[in-house]
Assembly symmetry: C2
Homo-oligomer: 421 residues x 2
């Protein structure tokens, strides 16, 4: 790590820690006011933000950034407005901070419970999309945290413009502007320095492609909440309602292809082999390439099903490709999910109560679903309001991460002079 990067990060870290001390005590109204002001500033400064974005787009053209990344990078008036609207929606969410739970009397006479409190300082490392600057900062702000944002170098001008709006709003709301800080440099050593800042930063949340996430996971001395693969399954049980199974399979695969909670592999009980034809036909009609095990290929008859290999089961396509495997029973389905799945989201379609309950209990994924599309694994659908990401980790928070995932609990004790005997 270069000494300069370390110095920059110590300064940002200390400023964030000081801001966090204030932010954790700020009441809900003041935080909401800051978010509403930020939305207004973003709208007011649209022209300035778009001008900054144009600089990034120009650099992207020059460096030959690919089309998908350029689409993520691009802002227009609608996208800026959507960013502002997002802040307003976060202002409308319930504030988790300060909630007291499970307060009980103990035999000693003391009353013991939990109080929900902010995590402290949250580092966000992300790529391309400048709207993450606003979304992530707003979620951290609403949950009483300070945040250090490190966006991709390709979006530096856009991120700078958006972060400036948020900081202006914080000042206008009478809150510390260092509650939102952008690492205002494209020096890659700063990412390394941020990952070594365990003295100042309580958690790092990386958002982006797999290589980014893996680098962060390997290098970080700060705890990380991360999202790796989403190899999601739908399992059609023998007893499944066939129309429901078709409907769920189509939605899970074709609603959106590039999302982490899309189905990648369909497992079908051999007694539900009669459902293969309609599903394969439906997928092909939507332009989905289908790869199946031998039995599936046979069952599909003349329909165009390619032969799936071992690698298919372990692949997150994020594309219009589906693998299908026939299984002998629910155990084999759950074994397949355990072996090839990524612990993200898995669905069973069944009419059998015991099979459904067993799947819920035994499948070890962050979301386990009976009779609904995998696409429901989402912060909005689960009622979190907005999400900062989806965790495929096991510690602290699993699945969609909303405001509560950005907080922790402390123990509180109320006594009447009690001492330990």
């Amino acid at each position: 790590m270069s000494g300069d990067a370390e110095q920059v990060m110590i300064r940002l870290g200390q400023q964030a820690k000081n801001a966090a001390k204030v932010m954790r005590m700020v009441d809900t109204q003041a935080k909401n006011r800051a978010l509403e002001l930020a939305a207004a500033v973003l709208r007011r400064e649209t022209a300035e933000i778009l001008a900054a974005n144009a600089l990034d787009m120009k650099a992207a053209d020059e460096s030959g950034l690919d089309a998908a990344l350029k689409d993520r990078l691009a802002l227009n008036a609608d996208r800026v407005d959507a960013m502002a609207e997002g802040l307003t929606q976060i202002a409308a969410l319930a504030d988790p901070v300060g909630a007291i739970n499970d307060l009980v009397y103990r035999p000693s006479g003391i009353q013991v419970g939990h109080m929900r409190v902010p995590l402290g300082v949250i580092g966000i490392i992300y790529e391309s999309r400048p709207n993450v600057t606003a979304d992530a900062a707003a979620l951290c702000l609403k949950s009483g945290n300070a945040t250090i944002l490190r966006g991709g170098s390709e979006a530096i001008h856009s991120n700078r413009a958006v972060a400036a709006c948020l900081r202006r709003a914080l000042v206008d709301a009478g809150l510390p502007q260092d509650a939102v800080q952008l690492v205002d440099s494209t020096d890659r050593a700063l990412v390394g320095a941020l990952l070594q800042s365990e003295k100042y930063v309580d958690v790092i949340i990386p958002r982006g492609g797999r290589s980014l996430i893996e680098r962060v996971a390997v290098e970080s001395r700060v705890p990380v909440i991360k999202h790796l693969d989403g190899i999601c399954h739908v399992y059609i049980d023998a007893s499944a309602d066939r129309a429901m199974a078709l409907n769920i399979a189509m939605n899970a695969k074709t609603h959106r292809y590039g999302v982490c909670n899309a189905m990648e592999t369909l497992l079908i009980h051999q007694d539900a082999i009669d459902s293969v034809n309609a599903i394969v036909k439906g997928m092909l009609d939507k332009g989905v390439e289908v790869r199946g095990c031998e039995k599936t290929v046979a069952a599909a008859g003349k329909l165009d099903v390619k032969v799936a290999n071992e690698e298919d089961w372990a692949t997150e396509y994020l594309a219009a490709i589906l693998s299908i495997r026939m299984v002998e029973n629910i155990e084999q389905a759950m074994d397949h999910i355990g072996q090839y799945g990524s612990g993200h989201t898995d669905t069973i379609v069944t009419k059998d109560h015991d099979a459904g309950q067993r799947f819920l209990r035994e499948v070890d994924s962050s979301s386990v679903i009976v009779n609904a599309s995998t696409r429901f694994a989402d912060g909005f659908e689960y009622g979190l309001g907005a999400e900062i990401g989806i965790s495929t980790d096991r510690l602290h928070v699993r699945g969609p991460v909303g405001l509560e995932g950005l907080t922790t609990e402390k123990w509180i004790v109320m006594g009447h002079g009690e001492i330990r005997e």
Copy 2:
């Protein structure tokens, strides 16, 4: 890392992962039966365990291990019986696994909630006390996890004997014996290999001295739940009942000196200066060395109070030493705690409702207490039954860690054929 150590740890890790897959599905009755059997085996094998312990004690004599460590290492029939009794108590605790919470209907029609599930594979790295082998393994077992135990080399024979009893009981209960594995070697490279086993181990819990904890925190690529310092405070507010304040201060300091939740610094509101004399006298009578700020020294008159320096405020004595500081108001008390405290446990003694509520809200420690001794920060006192340790981290679990801290939650969804529109 040596290749050999890595190979050993891959084998242990795979075995643990396989055992964890079984353990997470085992019902409460079977887990309790294994614990009861383990208690019986420990009692039956007392002679063998003591013979193994004698080998460790002999080696400790030869290597000149200090008296305190030798006391921790030593077993006798009573200590083995206490170990067995501990297992029986853990069997009696409620099983957190499988509990479903917060199940609500969403506007889409799906029902969403959480199910509590085991963390998976837990690595425990500890020193000296062989009873940790039984305690930690039993807590992990009851919470449906597999555990890899790495005790201190000075206790290797004792730990081996205790672990053998637990593994025998697992087999007798029809459960996988690899649910409890001891790293059966004193090779230090194995600790390094365990800390790099993020593929197999879900969390590491180090228990021991500060240097062990710090090594683990720095080196580990597996998430760590750890306990660092316990610089705990009692703050006597202006309005405090003087008899209660004296009582709590004496208990917090003198109930036990070497524990993490003992008071190290007493803060006294300047309007409660009248309480100084009785407290200092009480401490001196108990043989506690008192170090005070200038005002405290002056208020103590002829009583023997040494002058405290800056270093005193930042020191966890773990000994019969107390520092006392006079403060102008509650803000100064909370600032002191924020600056010098370790975020472990802090108490206010007050009759003022607002002051008590403010202290609860604003002090950022894992336990914040009104009108009770800091000594209550403990798994048994909080109703957790037994604790695997106290976390001074912020993520996942804070304060005393019981069975629930060894679990996580997954999302469960029950639908009726719902799809995302």
